[in-house]
Symmetry: C2
Subunit: 118 residues, 2 copies
Amino acid sequence: MRKISSTNYHNQTFLEEKCALNELIHLLSKRWLTEVLFSIEEGNSRFSTLKEDLKYISDNILADRLKLLEQYKLIVRNSHLGEIPVRVEYSLTETGLRLSELLDGLCQFSEKEMEFPG
Amino acid sequence: MRKISSTNYHNQTFLEEKCALNELIHLLSKRWLTEVLFSIEEGNSRFSTLKEDLKYISDNILADRLKLLEQYKLIVRNSHLGEIPVRVEYSLTETGLRLSELLDGLCQFSEKEMEFPG
DNA sequence: CTGTATCCGATAAGATACTG
DNA sequence: CAGTATCTTATCGGATACAG
C-alpha cells in the first residue's frame, strides 16, 4: 500500500504518467525480477526449479516476483489442480518474450559499452 | 556507504556480478534519472534549465543525478571558469546517446505493448 | 510443494538550510 | 548560479514462522 505522503507519491505518479517507461523501470528494478524472467525464458517453469536456479532467492521474494510478473501479464500461471501435490507451471506471454528480448539488448550494451565506476 | 549486512548486500553483489544489466537497471531505477538523461538529450544543458524542464525535481536530487550520470560516463560536465557567475554545461557522451536510444525503444514498448495493472 | 503473514534493518527520496 | 549538508520519512529486501 503506497502512502499519499505529498511529494514522494506525487512525483512518482507524475513520472509514471509522463512516460510508461518509468513504471516499467520501477518494476524491473525490483531485485531478482529480471532474473526470474530470464530463468523462465530458459525453460524453468516451476517454483522449485526456479528457486534452485536462482540459488540465493528466498521463498517470499520469488512468490512476490511471480505474482508481479503475472499481474503485468508477462507470464502466465498454469495450475494442474487434479494432481497431488498441486503442480504449478509458469511460462512467458508474447509480451514477456518481447520484453526479455529488449532486455537482452540492454544487457549486451551494459556489458560491452558501459563503464561502471568503483 | 553500503553496509555489509549479510544477505542483502551479498545478493545485490551476486546479481550485479552475474550480469551488468542488474547494475544498469539499479542506476536507471533512481527516480528522475532517465528524465534528466532525456532532458539533456533534448538540448537542456544547464542546471537551471534542467530544473525548469523537470519542474518537480529538487536541487539535491538533480545534483545527485548529474553526478551519477557523470560518474557512469553518460554525460560530460563542462565548466566555463572564466565567467562570472560560473557557467556549467552538460552534454551526452556517445555511450549516453546510445543508452538513450535503447531506452527510447523500451519506452515505445512500454507504451504500446505493456498493460499496467491498477 | 507452493506459497502467506509479520516484523525489522537498510536504502532512497525529499525538506530545509546553507555555501563559494 | 550551481550546488552541499543534515535530517525525516517511505519503501524494499530478507528472516522467520506458518498454511493449504
